[in-house]
C-alpha cells in the first residue's frame, strides 16, 4: 500500500536520509530501527508530510504524496504519532480526541454547535481502546508522559487510518508498559486491518511485535527482513554490538 523509492534528504551538509527504498504491505507491523541520528524521524517526517524530501518518491496506494501537506496525507488515511508528543495542552484528553474526530468529519467550520457534545461516544470508545478512560476528563497538559503517548495514539486512530506511523511510541515508558502498549497496538492493527510502521529502541519490543524489520544507519537502509534475518545480519551486528566503533567505521 505504501511504496518508498530512493527517498533522500540533506540538512545543510548532513545526509540525514540517503536513497532509502522500502514498501509497507497492508496490515503488517513493520519496525524501523537504527541508532540515534540514523535518520528514522526524518523518514517519518517525509512520510507524514512534515518535511519535503529532496529526492525520491512516496507512493500511497499509487498516488505520489512526496509533495503533499500533512493534512492531505492525513485525509488519505495516514495517522501518526511524534517522537516528542504533540497534543493540545489546553484541552482535556477527551476534547483532544473529539477535536481529531471533528477534523476527520470535516466539521470544523461550525461556529454554533457546542464542540463538547460532538462525537462523545466515539471519543470515549477510542480512549477506552488505548486504556485511557480514567484520564478522559483531565487536561492533556498535566497527563503523565506515557498517557500522552496513548492519547496521541487515540488521536491518530480518530482519522481511521490505513497506515499508522509511530515514532518511538514507547520512549520514556517503563519496560512492562512498553510491551503492553505495543501488544495493544498490534491488536488494534489486526482488528482494523491497519498497517503500522514504528521506530523503537527496545530490541525486545521490536523482536516481539514486528513482523518485519528495516534497519537504518547513517541515513541509509542497511538491512531488511524478519527477526531471524536481522539478528544474523553482520552489518546490523556491527552497528548494534560494536556501537563504539561503528560510528567511526562509516
Amino acid at each position: 500500500m505504501l511504496v518508498v523509492q530512493n527517498l533522500t534528504k540533506t540538512f545543510g551538509g548532513v545526509h540525514a536520509v540517503t536513497d532509502v527504498s522500502f514498501a509497507v504491505t497492508a496490515g503488517e507491523m513493520l519496525a524501523l530501527i537504527g541508532p540515534n541520528g540514523a535518520g528514522k524521524s526524518t523518514c517519518f517526517n517525509m512520510l507524514g508530510g512534515q518535511i519535503r524530501p529532496d529526492g525520491g518518491r512516496i507512493l500511497l496506494a499509487g498516488t505520489d504524496i512526496s509533495k503533499a501537506t500533512p493534512r492531505t496525507i492525513c485525509r488519505l488515511g495516514v495517522g501518526r504519532t511524534f517522537q516528542i508528543t504533540a497534543t493540545f495542552a489546553s484541552m482535556t484528553a477527551r476534547e483532544n480526541v473529539q477535536t481529531a474526530l471533528t477534523a476527520h468529519h470535516r466539521q470544523t467550520a461550525r461556529v454554533w454547535q457546542e464542540a463538547d457534545t460532538l462525537h462523545v461516544a466515539e471519543a470515549d470508545a477510542l480512549l477506552a481502546q488505548v486504556s485511557l478512560s480514567a484520564e478522559a476528563g483531565r487536561p492533556a497538559g498535566i497527563l503523565a508522559y506515557g498517557d500522552l503517548k496513548r492519547l496521541e495514539l487515540a488521536m491518530a486512530l480518530a482519522c481511521n487510518p490505513k497506515l499508522l506511523l509511530m515514532d518511538e511510541p514507547t520512549a520514556g515508558m517503563a519496560p512492562a508498559e512498553r510491551a503492553g502498549l505495543m501488544a495493544l497496538t498490534a491488536g488494534l492493527a489486526q482488528a482494523r486491518g491497519m498497517a503500522v510502521l514504528f521506530t523503537e529502541h527496545d530490541m525486545d519490543v521490536v523482536f516481539g511485535t514486528a513482523s518485519r524489520i528495516l534497519v537504518m544507519d547513517h541515513g541509509a537502509l542497511i538491512a531488511q527482513g524478519d527477526a531471524a534475518m536481522i539478528r544474523a545480519d553482520p552489518r546490523v551486528r556491527a552497528v548494534y554490538l560494536g556501537t563504539g566503533f561503528s560510528s567511526g567505521g562509516h
Partner: protein, 615 residues
Amino acid sequence: MTALLIQLLTGLAGASTLFLVAAGLTVIFGVTRVVNFSHGSLFMLGAYIGWTILSRLPRDPGSFALGVLLTGLATSAIGSAVEMVLLRRIYKAPELLQLLATFGVVLILQDATQAIWGPADLTLPRGPWLRSAVMILGERFPLYDLILIATGPLILGTIWLLFARTRWGTLVRAATLDREMVSALGVDQRRLFTSVFALGAGLAGIGGALVLPQGSANLQMDLSVITDAFVVVVVGGLGSLTGAYLAAVLIGVLQALGIVLLPKATLVVVFVVMACVLIVRPHGLLGRPLTATRTDAAAIAPIRPATPALLWAAAALLVLAIAAPLIVGPFVLSVLTDITIAILFAASLHVLMGPGGMASFGHAAWFGLGAYGTALAVKSLAAPMPLALLLAPIAAGGVALVFGALVVRLSGVYLAMLTLAFAQIVWAVAFQWSDVTGGDNGILGVWPPAWAGPASFYWISLVLCVGGAILLRRALYAPFGFALRASRDSALRAEAIGLNPNALRLAAFTLAGSAAGLAGGLAAYAKGSVFPTTISVGHSVDALVMVLLGGVQTMAGPIIGAIAYTGLFDALLLATGFWRAALGACILAIVLLFPQGIAGGFNRPGVAGSVKRTI
C-alpha cells in the same frame, strides 16, 4: 533626474537616523528577546536632552559632536536604569506582557518629558556650518545631510568591529544565536543584558540628537520612530545588524522617493515592500528562524465553560444593563454605551490573543476602519444607520482578510510588530488623506437618526455588542474554536489530524476584524464623530489592557476587563492630568504582580500550578 538623485541622498540621510534606532532595537532583541517598545522614547529623550545640552554649547562642529555624544551617554544611563529596575524582572514573562510593560514605560516617559520640557516643539538655533551646503549636479545639498549619510555606515562599522574584536562582542553574537548556550557558559547574563541595553539606548539617544538640526524635539516622535524602526527591524531580520542597515536604507529611500513620485501613497508603498520581503523571506532579509526559547502552549491552562453561578451573575448584570436607561442619567448612559462598545472591542481582540494565539498590537486598525467606514457611508453616501453600521464590519473584515493572509503565517513578535505597523499606516492614511477623511479634523456630524435617541441607541449598542460578544464566545466553544485553539496549542498535531492552522487563523483574524469594525461603527455614532486617534497605538493598547486585565485564558475575561478598564480610564481622566503616566504605572503594576498573566495569577492552583510537561 537631478531632483530624484537629491531626494535619494535625502533618503539616505534619513536612513542613518532610522538605522541608529533600529540597530539598538535589533541588538537588544537579539540578546534579550525583548521587543523594547520604549526604544522610541529613548530616541525622543535623546532629542530633548540633546536640545538642552546643545542650546547651551557654542555653535561650532566640535561642540556639536561633543553634545551629541554626551546625549548618547545620558540616554544610555536612562536605558540601563530602565533595564535594571524593570525589564530585568520580566525576562521570563510571556512576550506579550514584556511588550506591554515596555509600552507602560512609553506612557510614563511621555508624561515625564512633557512635564520637564513642556508641550511645545523645541527647535535648535543652527550655527553657520549647519546651514552650509555643497553643490551636487548644480543643486544645493545640505552639508549636514552628507554627514548624516556617512554616519550610518560609520556606526555600523564601529559596532561590527566591537562585535568582531572584543570578548563582549563575541558574547553578544553567541547570545543572539543561542541564548541557552551563553547561560551554559557561565557568563553573567545580567551584566551582558544591561550592557546591551546601554549600547542600544545610547544609539537611540544619539539618533534623537542628530535629527535636531533639521527637525525638532516633539512629543510625537517616540511612537512615529518606533513604528518605522519596527518595520526596519522586521524587514532586516530580527537580531541582524547588517539587515537593519539594509532595511533602513530601503525604507528611508522609499519614503524619500515616494514623497516625490507618489505623494499620496508613500505609506502604502512602504507597506507593500515590507509585505513582499516577508512573503519571499519570512524572517526578513538577513534574519534566521528564531530559536524557540519557551513553550507557551505548555503554560496555558485549559478553558472551562462558565459555572452556573457565573452564568446567573451574568444574567443579573444583563437585566440591569437592559433596565439602565430607565434608572441612570445621560452622562452615565453615555459611559454605559462606551462600555458596551469596549466589550465587543475587547472580546474581538481576545479571540486573536487567547484561542488564536496571535498577539495583535494594532487592533485599533479594525475599530478605526469600521468607524471611518460608517462615517464615510453617512457623509458621502447619506446611508441610513442600519446600512452604515453594516458597512463597518464589512470594511474592517475585508481589509483584515487581505492583511491577515499576509500575517497569519507569522508568529509571536513578528505578528505583534506587523499588526502595530499596519495600524500606524492606517492611522497615517486617516491623518494625511484629508480630502476624504478630514485629516486631523476628523469627520463630524455622524449622529443617529431622530428615532434613535440616547436610550434607544444604547439598547441598539447593547444588543449588537453584547450579542456580538456572546456569538464570538459561542464560536470559541464550537468546533471552530476548538480547532483554532488546537492550532495554537500544537500546529504540528493540528496539521497531522487534517486541520489547516493558517486558514483557521485567517478566519479568526477576519472574524475579529469585523467584530472590532462593528464596535468602531457604533463608536462613530455614539460620539457623533471620528478622529484619527481612534486608530492610535494608544487605542490598540487600550484593547490589550482590557484583555489582559480580565485574563487571556478566560472567556469572561475581556468583558470584565472592558468594564473595569473603561471605569478606571474615566476615573483617571477625571482625577489627574498625568493620566498617561498613571495608566503606564497601572500596566507596570499588572505585569510585575502577575508576570505570568492575570489568568495565571487567579487560576485555581490545581489547574494552573500543575500544567507542566516533561518534554
